[in-house]
Structures are given as structure tokens and as C-alpha cells.
């Protein structure tokens, strides 16, 4: 019963956002152009590195391109589906209008997370898929069916992880007021996910790799799905990613519930 109600709510929220973005159809093209342009910054270092070396920590050019593809795709999801809603939450907390959300007879986390979608911003998803195609053409082969299925599953866990990390960031808004630049901090940490995680294993005897696998699970978000596409992700890593993402989501939910208790509204 409850699930059905929430699905209907999600439908309504999606419809409202969809109608809103139909008013700004031209944005599709400007966002598309900027997306392609920004992809350039992700690719430029790749080209420079691989003009020096054919292989970097066991990743060839085409393989590393897959990681960039996943990075770009997740960026699309982040900017189209996660960012718009959650920056709204920060505004709500600052202005005290979160009251109105809390009063509604539905889960607050659900409501704030679905309040706004910006489909045009998700253009990066298309760019990411384009990069996959290019990468595999470069590699001269196509992914196996099981590899593709595993990577689709990992797309789900990556999105869940990204969303949970965002919930954690937003929860910080209950403690410190100025959080708008926390979003920049988040994006810049996400920058590390542009590269295969094995690149970082030389730093501090692998400490950085451990951090990016278990603390801020960036490796799980881009490197694992790319490995799955290439068909070289061990099954236990796949299971680990699914379980880990579930645990992470549960943990961030607990933090959100605790943080929201500290919400005191604004006096103005």
C-alpha cells in the first residue's frame, strides 16, 4: 500500500518537473553544448597521459576512457536528478521553509529528494553513453552480456551511493549554515573518480585507494562498473559493491534522521 502511494507521489513530482522543463526547451541545446565542452576537460589529461605511455597501472587508453564515460554519466545523474532537489533543501533549511515539508503526511527525505528534476541537465548521460561506444570501438571488441548486466546493476549501486553521499552532505546543512559551497567541495572530491582507482595505489602505500573504496566509495562508482563492462570484475567485488551500497544508504538515512531532529526552524 505504502509503496504504491509513494510511487504515485513520485509520478506526480516527475510530471511537475517535466512540465516545468518543457517551458525551457531551448536549454536542451545549450546544456548539451556545455556538456560536450566540459567533457573536453575530462578528456584532455587522458590524451596527454596516453600520448606519453600506452598503459597506466594496467589500464589502456580505451579502458580508461570507459572510466571517464562512467564519470560523465554519473555527473549527468547527479546534475539532473540529485543536485536540483538537494540544493533546494539547503535553501529550505536556511530560510526555515522546511517546516512546510515536514508538515506533509509523507516521508520528509522522500519529499525533498524528489522535489525537482532537471532532465536537460542530464545530457551528460548521453555524452557518457557516447564515450562508451567510442571506447569499445577503440578497444575493437564489445562487452559480454553478463558484463553489461553487471554494469547495469552497478549503475544502480553507484546512483544509490552518490545519492547517499549527497544526503550526508545536506545533513551537514543542519549544523553549519553556509553550505552552498559544500556542493563545490563535493564536486571536487568527485573529481578523483575520473581515473581508475589503481592509479592512486602508489600514494601512502595504498591508503588513498583504501579511502576511495571504503570511506568515500569513489572506486565503486566508476572503476567497478568499467571493470564489469570489461568483464574483469571479480564476482565477490560485485557482491561487495551491492552490500556496501546498501549499508552506505542505510547509514546515511540514519544520519539524516538524526540531523533532522536538530532542525529548529528559522525565526524570521
Amino acid at each position: 500500500m505504502k509503496v504504491k502511494r509513494y510511487l504515485r507521489l513520485l509520478g506526480i513530482q516527475l510530471k511537475a518537473s517535466g512540465l516545468l522543463s518543457l517551458q525551457y526547451r531551448a536549454d536542451f541545446f545549450t546544456e548539451g553544448l556545455t556538456s560536450l565542452f566540459w567533457t573536453f576537460t575530462a578528456l584532455a589529461p587522458l590524451f596527454v597521459v596516453y600520448s606519453e605511455r600506452p598503459n597506466l597501472e594496467g589500464w589502456s587508453f580505451g579502458e580508461a576512457l570507459l572510466v571517464v564515460g562512467w564519470f560523465t554519466l554519473l555527473q549527468g545523474i547527479l546534475e539532473g536528478a540529485i543536485n536540483p532537489s538537494l540544493t533546494g533543501v539547503v535553501e529550505h533549511i536556511r530560510k526555515g521553509t522546511l517546516d512546510f515539508v515536514l508538515l506533509k503526511p509523507a516521508d520528509a527525505q522522500f519529499l525533498v529528494s524528489t522535489q525537482r528534476f532537471q532532465p536537460w541537465r542530464a545530457f551528460n548521460v548521453l555524452t557518457g553513453v557516447g564515450l562508451f561506444v567510442y571506447a569499445f570501438m577503440h578497444l575493437g571488441r564489445w562487452p559480454s552480456v553478463t558484463g553489461l548486466l553487471a554494469s547495469v546493476l552497478l549503475l544502480g549501486t553507484s546512483t544509490l551511493l552518490l545519492y547517499s553521499l549527497w544526503i550526508l552532505t545536506v545533513s551537514a546543512a543542519f549544523f553549519v549554515v553556509r553550505v552552498d559551497n559544500l556542493t563545490y567541495l563535493f564536486t571536487s572530491i568527485f573529481d578523483f573518480a575520473r581515473w581508475p582507482s589503481s592509479v592512486f595505489q602508489g600514494v601512502g602505500r595504498g591508503v588513498l585507494t583504501l579511502v576511495f573504496t571504503y570511506v568515500i566509495p569513489l572506486a565503486l562508482m566508476t572503476t567497478f562498473p568499467a571493470q564489469a563492462m570489461l568483464g574483469r570484475l571479480p564476482p565477490q567485488s560485485l557482491v561487495g559493491a551491492v552490500v556496501g551500497a546498501g549499508l552506505f544508504a542505510w547509514g546515511s538515512r540514519q544520519v539524516w534522521l538524526r540531523s533532522i531532529r536538530r532542525y529548529t526552524s528559522a525565526s524570521s
Partner: protein, 267 residues
């Protein structure tokens, strides 16, 4: 708006700006932490150069290069374009225009006044670089230090003036945020922020020599770490300040033409 009023207002503006920088120190720290890109690239290039050096760059050279990039980025930076866009949209630029001093000076001083706080981040990073890499991470001669300081000021001027010119475009375009994005992408790719421009193929390098981006970050960093001789240093510095002059003229013209079109909404 005589030069004398501007000059007299300067010390006060600096004091206000400094007080603001101190008041928002936590926010500044977050901004500093969000410029991690040189560190990402440092780790990456360390991995690349572990087996064999790339050009003249070994692992240690990459460490000193990217730590210097991180430090210079804290100083040679400006967010004026964003600020101008915001103030024009909100109509709050009207308040600034009422004052007997050009808003451009106010923006400049605001940014300069944050220098002491930003140095508190940049200097330790350079010291760290010396601790990790040794003497060769910094210049050996006093004159090279002088050139480096001039280059950092020049780098800041390039960033600030380009920002003003782009910001002033919003008088014509409603919003120049997209132009700013284009500038930023070119900056990332061409400035030496993500990789030393030396590693690019020669044709691209000649092109970049003629563009302003390298003079914001790449040139100050190279003057700090690359141990250039007199001639090379002088040539780079001259090119940088030529760009400062060009961008200065560009900023002055677009601002002057643009601000006439300003109409304050709301308020």
C-alpha cells in the same frame, strides 16, 4: 570619481575587505579544499612517471609542479564575473554605482584584501613542497623570487581583468554565466593547471603561448619551479604583462559600454 577619492578610499576598503575575509574564514577554507584538481593530477602524474621520467619531469618534479599550482591558484584567482552577474540580476549593483568610487575598484580591493588569508594557505604548501622535494622546488636566486612575485601579481591581474570583461558581458547578454563556463573550460585545458603545458605537442604549445590562460597559472608556477634563466623569465613576464594590458583595455571598454545599459530591477 577622481583618482584622489579612489586613492583615499583604498585603505578603508582594504580594512573592510580583510575583516570580511577573516569573518568568512571557514567558507574560504572550504573554497581552498575544493580546488583539489592539482592534487588529483599530481597523484596521476606521479603514477605515470614512476617507471621513467616524462620529458624533464620526474616524480619529484611533478610534486613540486602541482603543489606550486595549488598554491598559485589560491592567489591568482578571481570570482568577479560571477559577482557581477549576481549583482546585476539582483539589482544590488545600483548601490555600488551610487558610491563615489568605481565598483571595479571595489571588486579588485575585495579580492586583494583576501591575500593575507590566502597566503596563510599558499606559503605552507610551498614549504611542504620544499620539505618533500628539497631546494630545487623553489628558485635559488633572489632575482628569480622577484620575478615569481611579479608573475603571481600578473596572474591575479589576468584572472581579475578577464573576469571583469566576462562579467560586463552580462549587460548585453542578460547572463554571461555560459561565457564564463567556456572561459573556465579553456582555462582548465590550456593553463597548465591539469598538466604542465610543456608536455603538449609543439603546435598546441605555440597556440597556448598566444592565449592568455597560461599566464594566469602556468607562468608563475614555471617561474617558481623550472629554474629559468634571465632571458626566458623576462620573455614570459613581458608576454604576461602584455596580456594584462590587453585584458585591462578590454575590461575597461566592455564595462564602460555595458554599465550604461544597466537598469536596476527590484532593489
Amino acid at each position: 570619481m577622481s583618482a584622489r577619492t579612489t586613492l583615499r578610499a583604498f585603505p578603508t576598503l582594504l580594512r573592510v575587505g580583510f575583516a570580511e575575509a577573516v569573518a568568512y574564514r571557514a567558507e574560504m577554507l572550504i573554497w581552498v579544499l575544493s580546488t583539489t584538481m592539482p592534487l588529483v593530477n599530481m597523484v596521476l602524474w606521479m603514477a605515470v612517471s614512476r617507471e621513467a621520467p616524462v620529458g624533464r619531469f620526474g616524480e619529484a618534479d611533478f610534486i613540486s609542479y602541482f603543489l606550486a599550482t595549488f598554491a598559485v591558484r589560491q592567489l591568482a584567482t578571481s570570482w568577479a564575473a560571477w559577482l557581477i552577474n549576481w549583482e546585476v540580476k539582483q539589482g544590488t549593483l545600483a548601490m555600488r554605482l551610487l558610491r563615489p568610487i568605481s565598483p571595479l575598484w571595489a571588486y579588485a580591493v575585495e579580492s586583494i584584501a583576501a591575500f593575507p588569508m590566502r597566503l596563510m594557505v599558499a606559503v605552507p604548501v610551498i614549504l611542504l613542497s620544499v620539505a618533500l622535494v628539497g631546494q630545487k622546488a623553489v628558485p635559488q636566486h633572489a632575482w628569480q623570487w622577484g620575478f615569481f612575485v611579479l608573475a603571481v601579481i600578473g596572474g591575479w591581474a589576468v584572472a581579475f581583468l578577464a573576469n571583469v570583461a566576462i562579467g560586463a558581458l552580462c549587460f548585453f547578454l542578460e547572463s554571461s554565466q555560459k561565457v564564463l563556463e567556456v572561459w573556465l573550460v579553456l582555462f582548465f585545458v590550456c593553463s597548465g593547471y591539469m598538466y604542465p603545458v610543456e608536455l603538449l605537442p609543439p603546435t598546441l604549445r605555440t597556440l597556448i603561448d598566444w592565449l592568455p590562460f597560461r599566464y594566469q597559472i602556468g607562468v608563475p608556477v614555471e617561474l617558481l619551479t623550472a629554474n629559468y634563466g634571465w632571458e626566458e623569465s623576462l620573455r614570459l613576464l613581458a608576454a604576461q604583462w602584455a596580456w594584462v594590458a590587453v585584458l585591462g583595455a578590454l575590461a575597461a571598454v566592455t564595462w564602460k559600454q555595458g554599465v550604461r545599459r544597466f537598469a536596476a530591477f527590484g532593489g
